[in-house]
């Protein structure tokens, strides 16, 4: 789905990431960990085409990102659900329109989707909040809303950046169960987190690969967890 080969990235000075090689296969469940500022978010941004590698080759759905136009990136993002660390919404639209936004912008909005939307909102536990504006939601609700929005187009890949950053342990367990369930439905999942408890909890439910960014390099870190 997403392949990195010897990818490097820098924001202008020294390389933040260097020599990264990674293959994210369909149906896999990856954790990405490492200290703050190591480049987890940057790696995720590379994976959904928000950033382009300064060197090396990165392919998304078999296409080299260097050859992707802006519209191609937009199309790729319809197949990649992204949950940001600080989830951003359109604050003037009620929650259900925010969650349906990917449908709206891709021209797929239709009355038949209303059922799907309802189902999805009940699945992430946001029923009753349909007409709330995003600023009225709690951190956990925003995280779940972002997840629901990432899922509405039924994407092939889900990239989540610290999805449990703003929520308590119980809520993080609930979000993890949602992600594990999605993985069992065949979705490819990549979660960036420094929450080792979360990774341990996941390992008991699903077979995962844990990657660590250290010294600008990507290394497999499974054994010690």
């Amino acid at each position: 789905m997403i392949e990195l080969e010897n990818v490097a990235y820098s924001y202008g000075g020294d390389d933040l990431l260097a020599g990264m090689s990674l293959q994210i296969a369909p149906g896999s469940f990856h954790f990405l960990t490492g200290p703050s500022g190591a480049g987890k978010t940057t790696l995720l941004k590379l994976c959904y085409g928000a950033l382009r590698p300064t060197s090396g080759q990165l392919t998304i759905f078999g296409q080299d990102v260097q050859t992707l136009g802006r519209d191609d990136v937009a199309m790729a993002r319809r197949r990649i659900g992204v949950v940001h660390q600080d989830c951003q919404f359109l604050d003037h639209l009620p929650l259900q329109e925010n969650i349906a936004l990917p449908l709206t912008v891709s021209g797929q909005a239709s009355p038949e989707q209303a059922g799907n939307l309802h189902e999805l909102m009940s699945w992430v536990g946001l029923l009753g909040k349909e007409d709330a504006l995003p600023p009225e939601l709690s951190g956990g609700e925003r995280q779940r809303a972002a997840l629901a929005r990432a899922l509405i187009l039924s994407p092939d890949v889900i990239l989540a950046d610290e999805p449990t950053g703003n929520v308590d342990w119980e809520m993080s367990q609930r979000l993890l169960r949602l992600l594990v369930e999605l993985n069992k439905m065949g979705k490819t999942i990549l979660i960036a987190t420094h929450d080792l408890m979360l990774i341990r909890a996941a390992k008991s439910q699903v077979s995962t690969r844990v990657l660590r960014i250290a010294n600008r390099q990507l290394i497999a870190a499974g054994a010690e967890l």
């Binding site: 950033l51 519209d71 993002r77 951003q88 936004l101 990917p102 912008v105 909005a109 929005r149």
Partner: protein, 300 residues
């Protein structure tokens, strides 16, 4: 391709996409006011141009490039002086044709005053020579000097020559009117660009969210372009309506009023102001489209 997509998106409309960009009161009012004011001024500049054009055409026709030479001479010298004058005129550059009026023609001219029975040939009536000028005209001061020397009894009568510089001025005024219209269109474009830039930066977060969930640049841009095109169209229509109303209460052109009262549109020219709102909308469309493309191109 992009242009077609945009144009189609604007014409077709998309209620859902319009909701995506939050309404912002400030730029709305600014754009509406600017396009209304510009449309108002454009209609006046248009009226000015057309009036100046009419004036130039009317006066140009009146000139008709004709003047008259009147020869008063003792009966014995009349024929000789007429012949000399004709020769001088023939040699003058700028004179297309010079023709002495026959007795019959002169009698016809005098008939309204003296009746049909006047024996013109027995009276010392001056001889008239009708001069037709080339479009460039002749050098009247030079001609006068030469006539003075060679045909002492000749008086050159240029009825409408004094209007010639006014015709030129009217032509320039018309040009000025068109330049003003061009400037007004550019200023409208500049104002809409500023307002669109302000709206795009104010909505940076909206744009980022839309990009994240897979919106194409065309989709995002069209939401803004549609909004600004509608605003300039509305503002342009309001400004045009006000200007047309103002013009229609002005008195029409009269013989004595001259230029100022001739500012109203005449005949089919009343249709022309109808072009102003669509033109304003076109300017708004182009300016917002360019601004949106530039801003979006810089984003991830």
């Amino acid at each position: 391709m992009w242009f077609r997509t945009m144009l189609w998106a604007v014409l077709r409309g998309d209620k859902a996409a319009d909701r995506v960009v939050p309404p912002s009161g400030f730029t709305v009012r600014l754009t509406l006011f600017t396009s209304a004011a510009m449309a108002f001024l454009t209609v006046f500049a248009l009226a000015l141009s057309l009036a100046a054009g009419r004036l130039a055409a009317d006066w140009g026709d009146v000139l008709a490039r004709s003047s008259t030479l009147r020869i008063s001479a003792p009966a014995g010298q009349m024929a000789e002086q007429t012949a000399t004058a004709l020769k001088v005129l023939e040699q003058t550059p700028g004179v297309l044709e010079a023709r002495a009026l026959s007795d019959a023609e002169q009698q016809e001219l005098l008939e309204p005053w003296f009746g049909p029975d006047l024996p013109v040939e027995s009276l010392p009536v001056p001889r008239l020579i009708a001069i037709t000028e080339t479009p460039a005209g002749y050098d009247s001061a030079g001609l006068r000097l030469r006539l003075q020397a060679e045909v002492p009894g000749a008086v050159l009568d240029e009825h409408t020559r004094w209007r010639r510089p006014l015709v030129t001025a009217a032509g320039r005024l018309r040009l000025l009117g068109w330049v003003a219209i061009l400037l007004l269109a550019s200023v409208t474009g500049a104002m809409v660009t500023l307002a669109a830039n302000a709206a795009l930066s104010a909505n940076a977060q909206v744009i980022a969210v839309l990009r994240l969930v897979g919106a194409t640049d065309a989709y995002i841009a069209s939401a803004f372009v549609r909004r600004f095109t509608q605003r300039t169209l509305t503002g342009g229509a309001v400004g045009t309506a006000l200007a047309v109303a103002a013009l229609s209460v002005m008195p029409g052109a009269t013989e004595t009023g001259g230029f100022l009262t001739g500012l109203r549109f005449e005949g089919w020219h009343w249709v022309l102001p109808l072009c102003v709102p669509p033109l304003a909308a076109a300017v708004g469309f182009a300016a917002t489209d360019a601004a949106a493309r530039r801003v979006l191109g810089d984003l991830a």
